[in-house]
Amino acid sequence: MATHAPTHAPSGPGHDTGHHAPPPLSHWWKRAFVWVVSSIFAALGVTWFVRWAWGFSPLWNYEVYMTVIFAFMGIAFLIGIGCFDYWWDYLRGRKVSYEDHSMHGATSWKDYLRPNTDHKVIGIQYLVLTFMAFVVAGLYAEGVRAQLAQPGENFVNGQTYNGLFSMHATVMIFGFVIPVFSGLANYVLPLMIGAKDMAFPRLNALSFWLLVVAAVLLISAPAFGAFSAGWTAYPTLALQGSTGTTMFELAVQFAGASTIATALNFMVTIVTMRAPGMTVWRMPLLVWANATTSALVVFGTPFIAGSQFMNLFDRVMGTNFFNSANGGDVLMYQHVFWFYSHPAVYIMMLPGFGIVSEVIATFSRKPIFGYRAIAFSTVAIAILGFGVWAHHMFVSGMAAWIRIPMMMMTVLIAVPTGIKIFSWLGTMWGGKIHLKTPMLFAMGFIVTFTIGGLSGIYLGALPSDIAMHSTYFVVAHIHYVFFGGSVMTIFAGTYYWFPKMTGRMYNEKLGVWHFWLTFIGMNLTFFPMHWLGTQGMPRRVSDYAPRFANVNLFISIASLIMVAGTIVFFYNMIWSWAKGPKAPWNPWRGRTLEWLVSSPPSLFNFDVTPQVVGGPYQYGIPGARHAVVFAGPELGGGELTETDKRLVLVVADEAVASASLIEDIRRRSAEGYWRFTYVVPSNPDEHRAAERRLHAALAVLAENGVEANGTVIDAPPMQAIDSVMREDTVHEIILTTYPLGSSDWLDQDLVDRVRKAAGVGLTHLTVLPGEAHAAAASVAVEKVALIANYGIDDAGLTDLVKSRADAKPLSAIVLCPLSLDVPSGSPEAEDLRNEASGRTAILIARLQDAGIQTRGEVLDGSVAAAVKIARTAHRADIALLATRPGDQVEITDEITEAAGTMTVEQVTTDGHTSTAPGASEGR
């Protein structure tokens, strides 16, 4: 039922949606502005006072003042925008409510521009911000490629070039790859574990706005003099340079605080807020991956905070951490930095592993291979990841004895990573693979990430690393693992959950284009760098030997293919978000909990806490289920559950909505093992008519609780059946035709051909044409009585009924009341009756051709008599009295009485008589 249930009402019952209406958007931003401006003066005052009181001389020091100003501005912005309002009330001893939901949820785009405590809103805030950072960082990368297209100083000078690649890496890593995973997980993780929100929603909001501060500091850094020490910010290089470097160091603190807060939130959420029945071995692998990543963040990130504090103090305060003249240790920076930044590569990769596990299991329609092995290997990678940091420092001159253990640990990490790769391959082996965009990206990821892993072995091995450490081989490696690894999984996840997050489907064709452009572009761009590296082209240098010119030009041009792919991606995302077709709840037939709620989910996700009763990846196992979810009272409290019922393919054309077919499907559905997919082979001319029939049939089935969906495919029957069977495992086919003689399909010997080609059981059902046009006996299909005489054959009436049918499935009864002035047996009466029959037949034929089940007759009697017959004999829900303009029929008491409880409406046709019956639908 999941794909057909209506969307949740925006607010579930039992939740107080707010104690007071939140103030308008401008309130927050005005406040933030005032705070930020005041903070500049406060920073100046405080710094001046401290320097004066401590007796520093001179009182003015540009770098010191700017540092304090930027730090103050960041914090003041967070206060002004309202991240601390609740806690401020709390610490003053005001009355506060833990259940204060006044900042929760979004009703318009404005709610995305203020602190919001809804994890779904925060997830989208994260994704939008980080993809903006992705664009900025990508533009820096293109700047780098523009410079390297030819040897020599042809685009920027060396100093600016240093700034370009430093900003590219910094914004990509701290502004995109790390936080974008927080964004995706923010959205889906609480849903996946059956929670209504994160454990600390207000902390969650603070995390996001901390990231905003970091991103603004980082991206505006070039305005204060480029930060050009590389993203690793090694001293003593990072101690020189302009204020941009200070801003980088501050931005890292803000971004670090943001990720630590998010990670704490994830861990507590995962530990304490799983739905009943969700044991750790029933958690989706994305949850495993994020729990592990969060542990890495919580225990690793303080080290980069420490390293950047030391850099900042040495820069601004003149301390001696790295000043060897005064007893400092410059190598210590690298140890502290890499002790975070090696685990950081797993922070940037493990959530991607989680996404890929979800995507591959769903699109292979098979239980994931080695669930526990994947879970354990995730943890193993995290633990081993803390013991390999010095492999970044083989050539740094550190103590030589550390190198061999680090090398061995590094190579050891290949084992758990290999376990994952083989588990994914094992999942796909023998699966029914659906090549949707997320799956394409997941499979592309396996290829490119494996290449990146293999080049990692060269760099992890001491002898080859010493040779290649400073060359483009490293650049090739990091881009294969970051772009071919992390970014591919980010795209996979974005496409996979796009329908859930936006409630709309993305464009599959553009998605496939995006994949191939990205995949080909990235391989053409980064693969030649391996060769450049082994030939000795140094990295981080704006110029190179002329013999590398051709390859570099090729790389620069190839990188534009990725740019094209990214443009396609953004066009697809933005267009689909605004105008894409509505997404069903569960477009991929996933089993995890997020697919058992509406798209997008309601305000508090689950109206009734779901019960988890099995593993998350039991694809293809009949009767296996992951969870039981109940709808809220406004949906009738029914059970919404993912199923693995076997699929029956129903093939029919005009007999789609016939009573005997529907009865047959109902009978089978009651057995409980089946779900149904209609395929209606059609052609462009009859497409709309076929759709109307299909909607009527699906409405009747939905009303009867049958799990069914369907599509109209503009193709011959064999081709249409084939296209469905490629997508899905079909267990049986029901083929419905007219009897021999009136069926084109039987003339073409379709039954035998399908039976041979499909290789599955086939039931052939024969339906008489008259039965196919009989109105369905169901409340889901509205019965409309059309009462008209002159004007009954107007095209306007047909159009009117068709547009009604498009709004809601209906069946029609055409009644033509003939009030005869002449004796009923006379020839005149006979003529009148024949004329009326002709007119009526035209309308019936037109409506039937438009895909509306229609019957009709000519009656001797008044309009009131026709109304009465419509109500009693045909049990119509509504009677439409159709007249030509200026030809109104008075609704007399007689008619009202005849109608009883049935609605009577007057409609006017356009007075234009069409002569060709059925011409409107082109048959």
Binding site: P276, F299, G318
Partner: protein
Amino acid sequence: MTTENITLGTDLSGSGPVEQPRHISQATLVMLLFLGSEAMLFASFFTAYFMVRFNVADNVWPPIDPATGKAFVLPIAVTGVNTLFLVSSSFTLWWGEHRLQHGDRKALERGLLVTIGLGLTFLVVQFNEYWHLGFSPQSQAFGTTFYTLTGLHGLHVIVGLCLLTICYVRARRRREFQPDRAPMLWASSLYWHFVDVVWVLLYFLVYLL
């Protein structure tokens, strides 16, 4: 219908009773994890300290201060007494929490006040030490690591005092905290004990060792 189906659903799994969510307080859990993070922040500065001390200075520690020509001196005795202040504050806080278990809210308030008083005393003594040490964060790597380690700890004492003050305000103004439910108090006291433990470690490693 709903409840019946839930029961039915769990039976179907055939894997025993449904596991209930854990009963650890979210505030306690997040504070424990956060303290893990804090411990790593201190660890990064201790790494700096040890690398400067054992990699660069080798066995000459404390090193010679070029400004005076003599080795740096740290006031071990005064700081030792100060350490006792801070350690005892952990016990007064524990006493307050313990009395709350018996429903004695007045004692909780007193315990918090005494703890805050001891914490402030520690800060004042430490500040006084800074004032009279005779070297600055810019004096060699020794001064740098000493001031950053003790300064980082001092910052944590200030944060801990803020948390305890909030607890005091909440306890007094809103009569918050029940014997079986006082997450904010538990979390704050965890933080305070952590600050104490770090100081004992710091005193041992930086002053005594």
